[in-house]
């Protein structure tokens, strides 16, 4: 059934010939992965925006066991009176202060200039409502945890983790990593057989999100719960206090946003239609290379 020599491609990825010049259609993402992916998109979007709403209730971050208005902040957004009497939005990060009118500290809410940390288009709900933001946040936090657990069990039991996500030994050799970084910098896309699987940097970043950032997000979030602090006081020692955990929760959320930005950029670079379709239908069209080698000449 195949014109491509069936070599190392594992069973679920058996290629099928696609008509025309598009290349080879490959069944790249299984249903469970696809459903899990889109639930994650929904959860992370809602969690990020409702998290911004919760942050806005007290747009100051601290380091240590305690922290309130009289204590020094490591990050703070506020509106202050400017030199000509008009309000200015300012963001303080450590020793530095930036003017951030219109975005942080002071922005428009329903046409009205309002003192608020994050702007209305970034918060859920868009208007100031901590109670509602919390309801959204905790519902979707539970959904993310359930989805994450199902994904973890599936990814281990199905062999997805070992087969597709864990880098092979030879992939971690400096020469290979260097080549991978160089390909990324030149925006070179893999073709042929190499296009059927994740590249090494991709594997490492996915593993970092799955096994470092998301667990860190959950654990720092749990540290903010006084009920959980009684159950697991060790959380307070690991993160250096509830207010440190709140700051780390914020930083980790930003790292996940950074991942999403790079992830979306890669989708755009490598062909958004093909990529988005593959995450919806499972089918990905791999460009056929000259020799199907890993590194195009």
């Amino acid at each position: 059934m195949s014109s491509v020599p069936d070599t190392t491609i594992p069973a679920p990825f058996k290629p099928a010939v696609a008509p025309g010049k598009a290349g080879v259609a490959i069944y790249r993402h299984r249903l469970a992965t696809r459903i899990g992916h889109w639930i994650n998109v929904l959860c992370l979007t809602v969690l990020l925006m409702s998290g911004a709403q919760i942050f806005n209730a007290h747009p100051r971050l601290y380091w240590g066991q305690y922290g309130a208005n009289a204590d020094p902040a490591v990050l703070a957004m506020a509106a202050v009176e400017g030199p000509n009497g008009a309000a200015v939005g300012v963001t303080q990060v450590g020793p530095w202060t930036f003017r951030t009118t219109g975005v942080f500290g002071l922005s428009k809410e329903r046409g009205q200039i309002t003192e608020r940390g994050f702007p209305a288009w970034l918060t859920l709900p868009s208007y100031q409502d901590l109670a509602t933001g919390r309801h959204w946040h905790f519902f979707f936090a539970w959904l993310l945890v359930v989805n994450g657990l199902v994904y973890l069990i599936h990814t281990v039991l199905s062999g997805h983790l070992k087969r597709d996500l864990l880098p092979r030994k030879d992939e971690l050799r400096p020469r290979h990593l260097g080549q991978d970084i160089w390909d990324h910098l030149r925006l070179r896309q893999p073709v042929g057989e190499a296009a059927t699987r994740y590249n090494t940097l991709q594997k490492i970043s996915y593993l970092a999100v799955i096994f470092v950032l998301l667990p860190l997000m959950l654990l720092t979030g749990l540290t903010l719960s006084p009920g959980m602090d009684a159950v697991l006081p060790v959380l307070l020692d690991v993160f250096g206090g509830r207010q440190s955990a709140r700051t780390l929760h914020f930083i980790t959320a930003n790292l996940i946003v950074l991942f999403v930005v790079v992830h979306l950029a890669e989708v755009l670079i490598s062909g958004p239609w093909n990529e988005v379709r593959s995450m919806i239908t499972g089918w990905y069209v791999a460009r056929t290379g000259k020799a199907g080698g890993e590194t195009p000449s």
């Binding site: 309130a68 868009s126 959204w136 905790f138 959980m228 602090d229 307070l236």
Partner: protein
């Protein structure tokens, strides 16, 4: 397939546009829809049950060393209850204050501040976590709530303890909008749950809830009712206030504030 592609493309484009353009207003609309709120609220029951399961051994909230005390312990909520009754009591150093304990109890009580202090005392340096996000650490001294409830004797029907406060939450103090709070018996009998009358070894200031406020250390700040006047044991809080178990709960906040 090549013929299908444009259709799919259009589908994906339309889908992305729909998600982007409708997401924000859609979420705002959902936020206001009572049925969707009930749906979201289901997570509260999950959090409550999960935490109560994990807290089976009644673990304590962390107690800190004095070096962790907040240099400034900020106040929040009511700064000074407006009722004339309260102001008369405050002028007399709360000598006229009594704590009423009633409802589903065997022996209703009226306790003066001195009588309350005589029951039993406990001090703890704990962290106060406001729902807004800030935390302050202070040393609280008070009477364990369990000792008061044991003195009154709960009837078998009692399921919640309601705290009625002296601070009215609107300009028309008609007796229906006083601050109130409620907790379950698990928290009511937790060793750190107390009626606190001192903060950092000084009598509670008015901003902190003088003469007595609740400390319920494994929950957020709004559960820690200030200006407590009456403690009522109930089988249900459905007929108190707007029926959600507390002033902020009636405004949409969770009844279980352990998270």
């Amino acid at each position: 397939m090549s013929r299908l592609a444009p259709t799919r493309r259009r589908l994906i484009t339309a889908g992305a546009a729909a998600v982007g353009g409708l997401f924000l207003p859609g979420c705002d609309r959902l936020s206001r829809a009572p049925s969707f709120r009930t749906f979201l609220d289901s997570a509260e029951g999950l959090s409550y049950r999960a935490q109560r399961l994990l807290q089976l051994g009644q673990p304590l909230a962390r107690e800190f060393e004095p070096r962790f005390l907040s240099p400034t312990f900020r106040t929040n909520g009511t700064a000074l209850p407006a009722s004339p009754n309260y102001q008369v009591m405050a002028d007399q150093d709360f000598r006229g204050w009594t704590l009423r304990v009633d409802g589903q109890v065997m022996r209703p009580l009226n306790l003066s501040l001195d009588q309350l202090k005589a029951i039993k005392a406990r001090s703890q340096i704990t962290r106060h976590d406001c729902v807004e996000g800030w935390s302050a650490i202070g040393k609280w001294t008070g009477t364990p709530l369990s000792a008061v409830l044991e003195a009154a004797g709960l009837k078998p029907d009692a399921r919640y303890i309601v705290f009625h406060c002296a601070d009215a939450m609107s300009d028309q103090p008609d007796g229906t909008d006083f601050y109130y709070e409620s907790i379950d018996l698990i928290d009511a009998f937790h060793p750190q749950t107390m009626l606190a009358y001192a903060l950092n070894d000084k009598p509670l200031e008015i901003g902190h809830g003088a003469p007595v406020r609740l400390r319920v250390e494994r929950q957020l700040g709004y559960k820690h009712a200030k200006y407590v006047m009456r403690i009522e044991a109930v089988d249900s809080f459905a007929k108190i206030g707007m029926g959600k178990g507390g002033y902020w709960e009636d405004q949409g906040y969770e009844w279980y504030a352990g998270i």
